[in-house]
Amino acid sequence: MSAVLVVHGGAWAIPNDLAQASVEGVKAAACGGFAVLKAGGSALDAVEAAVMGLEDNGVFNAGHGAALNTDGEVELDSIIMDGRTLGCGAVSSVKNIAHPVSLARAVMEKTSHVMLTDRGANLFAESIGVATVPTEALVTELERTEWKKNKTYMAGVVEDFNAQAHD
């Protein structure tokens, strides 16, 4: 049985100045995740490793490249699921967490729940010793610039997603 790993870096109107870095980023994450499979690791370990790699890359809208909400905060969402057991863990609107996918896995493995949200997700992170990081560590200069521009010139949430916005 051959092992396979596939990753994505988001589907939107990726601008040309991010195109190369996006492709390089997904290639690196795919190779990182596949290395886990090659070493005999599980599919669950491999997807966590691959997504952690993408969360560490400020090019992508997750982890260290997160978008800012209307209050200038970072609210992060993540899910992980094990096809063998249908085990699933998710966090939503969690703040100041570098690897939400690992926190989602902890929800799956350390609680009987599927999702923890907002303050509850942060309290759970604290209870299992997951370190927090300052919001600044999760936001790139580019994102802050774009957010300010967005705030100044476009009221509300940009909805013409298919052309301009990203998810």
Binding site: L5, V6, H8, G10, A11, A19, A30, L54, D77, M81
Partner: protein
């Protein structure tokens, strides 16, 4: 949003998705990513999916589960993804993308937005793309 799907040598599948949401969103607005059956789903009996795109549209059609239901009815992973994304476009005018892997190692990266960065490794060979139909 970022995501990954995998099948290991034992035939087990898994998925993961992570996102920072959309810029300037309402405080507390949550899209599809952390919602089971929407932003991701994995079942050894059919496959694993990670989705990305317009969150509210993906939620309305439960895109990850919809793709797997097409696979359960015998479609290939590529056909299943295309059918489900087409349905989302027709029904709620939403665009997005999905990566899929089956327990037998079939895989696809499909999207209806202008671009989606993706990469896959199978038998040590690296595939990747950004443009439609690449």
């Amino acid at each position: 949003t970022v995501g990954a799907v995998a099948v290991d040598r034992a035939g087990n599948v898994a998925c993961a998705t992570s996102t920072g949401g959309i810029r300037n969103k309402m405080v507390g607005r949550v899209g599809d990513s952390p919602v089971i059956g929407c932003g991701g789903y994995a079942d050894n009996l059919s496959g694993a999916v990670s989705c990305t795109g317009h969150g509210e549209s993906i939620l309305k059609v439960t895109l990850a589960r919809l793709i797997l239901s097409h696979i359960e009815q015998g479609k290939s992973v590529a056909e299943a993804s295309q059918l489900a994304l087409q349905y989302m476009g027709d029904r709620v005018k939403g665009a997005g993308g999905a990566i899929v892997v089956s327990p037998s190692g079939q895989w696809s990266a499909t999207f209806t937005t202008e671009r989606m960065a993706w990469a896959a490794v199978e038998d040590g060979v690296l595939w990747y793309g950004l443009e439609p139909n690449e």
